[in-house]
């Protein structure tokens, strides 16, 4: 057998033409130590007997070529993995100013501590609620806190992430209205818009893009109103702050026009700024969407996070069509205790099959719970202060940049957390900064041809005054003062 380089005798058993390597047992597979006992119980002499219904020509006659040639002892795995990870560049002089849907927010230790509880992370979907009250209650709390924060009636128990939640929101709006057009602002994150397109087109949904105001960076009001009146779409999607970092200030007006046309208003909004920005549900949004990266999930090279999907639904029209799991309150059969269970499962794939509201099965419960833990930690005042802290950094960044003679791309817009810098030499600025250990980005020319001289700069609570000063001084140095 083969463990690392340890040479022990290699044994084979042979059935027909099949030769299978016989490995020593592995600690992760306890009964690999007693295969003979189980085989005896089953009255077989070879495990291959259990595969006697598999056509012989389909049985793989060699070992899979996976891993590193032989099983790895744990200490070898650790060393090998460390070698690979050391190929990442990780230490930066200042926290990166990278944005574009995910920012360098802090994830408090409490969240990791709770998420590392085995009872949570090794559990399955709460199909047996009596044994899973911890999970159902935590998810009920998540639904409750998110619904309050976004100003809506109902938030489901999570989607995969913000992008698929938005795609599902679009499909939801189409099912509810019976209409096939959807209007998406060009200032919505381009990757979100791409995901929406992938998930919509096969069922005949047409996506229409509306532009942004060249001065304010906000969605072009005249254009969006025109589209709403002309197309009478299922929904209009606006993101705030939008991909450029601009706060959309006309949400109420857009939703009024949308509702006049019988359309639904979908607002995509990062939860972390909801301490200072009004709840979209209060501004007329019918469907709200967000992502938990900023509130406990962190970066992790883009995932996993949880997708927030919520609805305002006085008449119950949207609820019946809502995808994803929902946790609801109930009582014990004897009426003596309260508890929480998955409800309205007849909307879901395991019961409704091809008529389900979505195919979603596994969702993102643990990330949802992490965001609930963070929101509970922050509390009402904490979330507001965090929003103010981010706003303060944004303001300071803008003022310092303006001293350096740098103006943002949309001069009349209000930026919050992210700022879109415009400069003819933007790529050179970015690489110079990076060479000095200061990271900005992404360059948005990869998404917008008309913004090829623009780059996002993102500040979070982790950036100090000195960090921003370093950034600005470096730009000044490069551009020869300002």
């Amino acid at each position: 057998m083969r463990v690392g380089s340890a040479s022990s005798s290699l044994t084979y058993f042979r059935v027909g033409i099949v030769v299978i390597g016989d490995y020593v047992p592995h600690p992760w597979i306890p009964n690999s130590y007693i295969k003979d006992v189980l085989m005896k119980e089953l009255g077989i002499s070879s495990v291959l007997d259990l595969f006697n219904d598999v056509p012989g020509e389909l049985i793989l006659k060699r070992d899979l070529n996976v891993g590193y040639g032989s099983p790895l002892a744990e200490y070898k795995l650790v060393r090998h993995f460390d070698e690979i990870m050391s190929k990442n560049r990780y230490f930066f002089k200042v926290p990166p100013f990278l944005g574009g849907g995910m920012c360098y927010h802090y994830v408090p230790a409490v969240i990791r501590h709770i998420a590392n509880r085995s009872e949570f992370y090794t559990a399955y979907t709460p199909y047996q609620p009596e044994m899973s009250q911890g999970i159902t209650q935590a998810l009920f709390e998540y639904q409750s806190m998110m619904a309050d924060l976004y100003g809506v009636d109902i938030v489901n128990a999570s989607m995969y992430n913000g992008s698929t939640a938005l795609a599902e929101a679009v499909r939801l709006s189409v099912r509810v209205t019976g209409r096939k057009h959807v209007v998406v602002s060009r200032s919505v994150h381009p990757e979100l818009a791409e995901v929406v397109r992938t998930w919509s087109e096969p069922v005949g949904i047409s996506i229409h893009r509306v532009g942004y105001d060249k001065e304010t960076g906000q969605v072009d009001l005249a254009e969006v109103e025109d589209y709403l009146r002309k197309l009478k779409p299922a929904a209009v999607i606006v993101q705030t702050p939008n991909f450029f970092g601009i706060v959309e200030q006309e949400l109420s007006r857009i939703s009024d026009v949308a509702h006049e046309s019988g359309s639904l208003m979908i607002v995509y909004q990062d939860p972390i700024l909801l301490g200072v920005l009004e709840a979209p549900g209060k501004l007329g949004a019918d469907i709200v969407v967000g992502d938990t990266s900023s509130v406990g999930s962190g970066l992790n090279f883009g995932g996993p996070t949880a997708g927030v999907l919520g609805i305002k639904d006085a008449e119950g029209r949207l609820l019946r069509q809502l995808p994803g799991r929902l946790i609801g309150y109930t009582k014990t059969l004897d009426g003596s205790e309260e508890g929480f269970i998955m409800v309205l499962q007849t909307r879901e794939q395991h019961i409704r099959r091809e008529r389900a509201t979505s195919n979603i099965t596994t969702n993102s419960s643990l990330e949802a719970i992490k965001s609930a833990v963070y929101l509970a930690l922050l509390g009402s005042e904490g979330l507001r202060k965090l929003g103010e802290a981010i706003a303060g950094r944004t303001q300071y960044l803008l003022e310092r940049l303006s001293e350096a003679g740098m103006v943002p791309a949309f001069e009349r817009g209000v930026y919050l957390r992210e700022v879109l810098l415009r400069h003819p030499d933007i790529a050179r600025i970015r690489s110079y900064l990076k060479s000095q250990g200061v990271y900005i980005g992404p360059l948005v020319g990869r998404f917008y041809q008309d913004l090829s001289d623009c780059c996002l700069v993102c500040v979070t609570e982790r950036h100090s005054r000195e960090d921003i000063d370093v950034l600005v001084e470096l730009i000044k140095q490069l551009l020869g003062g300002g």
């Binding site: 219904d53 056509p55 891993g67 999970i135 913000g162 996993p304 014990t332 509970a376």
Partner: protein, 504 residues
């Protein structure tokens, strides 16, 4: 006698924990009035006052969620034999290494040159999964298995459209399939055609032949199927489906029982998804996040979602130039953390990974052999056949003879410290228990499960009411699913609960 008792904290909702306003987070005040200055520029969309959230201190938050965690139950506490869920043990080293700060702090828009280690892991995992499935290429962009199904269905759809055969709008799905298969097919715009299962537990070949036509886009199949039985006619099925011009989709949820023995590509499948959180030991997180992979071969490789991680001999990079890509299924690059856990899992086992299938299959058949002789228990399909990753037993007889149904038996298992299997699925088996113990359950535990079932079925014949009272030892007693689902009773948030309590 040792008795199981789950923690019962009587923990209030987080909204009710704290009376006085506190915060669990200390923030700096470095930027003073700058924040207010910026916010004053915003019109109409500024929040007045604080957002409505509970306000707890750190210690209250920790205690609250720790208590909740003790009222949850996962693989680290005991067996979770949920069928088709592959609830195997999640090795701790994978958890520890995947929480590396070099992963946690990696922004998705870092330049490729700065994330070569991460890209190498993803690329290597893609290669290994291609080898495991016998496919040409794999992507881990799909955040879960069902997202992989949707991606695969879209690829099949676009393939036919590009060949001028957009009239192929039917997806064939056996009646034993996971519900996500027909749901994914419908999401991609297909009509679903159902095929029955024959008494040996195979797809009914005659019915399949009759269903295939020039409108067939493809067939979605899981093999072994949800009965745990290997599809004996898979070669003929592939021939028939391909002969009709359709493509064959592999649902990888049940791969665990044949891992390293039989590969989807060798069976004739054109496209497959894998559930990294099932077969490859990433944890389920109380329902998610998981991670999916989508793999395919031949002409379909031109349709893969973007981006995919590639290697040019010098460096790893994100590749977007896939000629007929279906586009992005999700933003960024997939659920990286669980994917890394699966990478570490495969790296550890290496070529001995087929030991997984061997022991999973041994465990399955050992447990079935012990259970099928219990009173009131029946096997419905495929008598005398070996199961692979799971098996399904029926309690219809028990129900008819004692009034104790599959759900009652499940609840009684909870009282014995064992999570119940998947129940009442697949729908073609009445009063079903679908049991998958995986390769990580010990024989000692399998015997405990047998003992528990034995005790429950015998009790059912002796005093059925005793079983119907279960569970008694869990955090709460049997919950009223009907009450919680009545339209007038639907309560999905604390706000609605407060209203209810006020009698509104």
């Amino acid at each position: 006698m040792k008795v199981f008792r789950q923690a019962k904290w009587g923990e209030p909702l987080v909204h009710e924990v704290s009376i006085y306003r506190k915060s669990g987070i200390l923030l700096d005040d470095e930027f003073g009035e700058y924040g207010k200055k910026l916010l004053s520029k915003i019109q109409r969309v500024v929040r007045e006052g604080n957002p409505p959230l509970p306000s707890l201190s750190e210690v209250e938050v920790v205690r609250h969620y720790l208590r909740l965690s003790q009222m949850a139950y996962g693989v680290d506490l005991g067996p979770v034999p949920l069928g088709s869920c592959t609830m195997k043990y999640n090795p701790k080293i994978c958890e520890e290494l995947a929480s590396d700060r070099r992963i946690a702090e990696a922004h998705p828009y870092l330049d490729e040159e700065d994330v070569q280690g991460l890209l190498e892991v993803v690329y290597t995992l893609q290669k290994w999964l291609s080898e495991i499935t016998g496919m040409d290429v794999c992507s881990i962009q799909t955040p879960a298995g069902a997202a992989g199904e949707f991606a695969g269905a879209l690829m099949i759809r676009n393939y036919h459209i590009d060949r001028g055969e957009s009239y192929r709008d039917e997806m064939v799905v056996p009646d034993s399939a996971h519900g996500s298969n027909p749901a994914s097919a419908a999401m991609a715009g297909f009509k679903v055609v159902r095929i029955p299962t024959d008494p040996r537990g195979n797809t009914d070949l005659e019915a399949l032949r009759a269903a295939l036509s020039s409108r067939t886009a493809g067939m979605m199949l899981t093999n072994p199927n949800t009965l745990g039985l290997f599809e004996e006619h898979i070669v003929e099925i592939a021939k028939e489906v391909h002969g009709s011009g359709g493509l064959l989709y592999y649902d990888g949820a049940n791969l665990n029982g044949i891992l390293g023995y039989v590969r989807p590509g060798d069976m004739g499948f054109d496209v497959a998804h894998l559930n990294l959180h099932k077969t490859f030991a990433a944890p389920h997180g109380g329902g998610g996040p998981g991670a999916g992979a989508i793999c395919c071969r031949g002409a379909l490789t031109d349709y893969m979602p973007v981006p995919i991680v590639d290697y040019d001999g010098r460096k790893y990079y994100l590749r977007y130039d896939i000629p007929r890509t279906i586009g992005r299924i999700s933003w960024f690059y997939g659920n990286i953390v669980p994917a890394i856990k699966s990478f570490l899992y495969i790296a550890t086992l290496g070529p001995m990974i087929k030991e997984v299938a061997e022991v999973a299959t041994l465990n399955t058949n050992y447990l079935l052999k012990k259970l099928e002789t219990l009173p009131g228990v029946d096997l419905v399909y495929g008598h005398g056949r070996w199961r692979k990753h799971e098996f399904v037993i029926s309690f219809e007889k028990l129900y008819k003879e004692t009034g104790v149904n599959a759900e009652d038996v499940a609840k009684a298992l909870l009282d014995r410290g064992i999570h119940a299997p998947t129940i009442l699925f697949p729908l073609i088996v009445p009063e079903a228990h679908m049991v998958e113990v995986t390769e990580t359950e010990t024989k000692e535990n399998l015997d405990r499960i047998v003992e528990a079932y034995r005790e429950i079925t015998h009790t059912a014949y002796r005093s059925p009411d005793e079983v119907k009272k279960a569970p008694q030892n869990t955090s709460v007693k049997r919950l009223d699913v009907v009450y919680g689902n009545l339209p007038k009773n639907i309560v999905l948030t604390y706000r609605q609960l407060e209203k209810r309590r006020r009698g509104e």
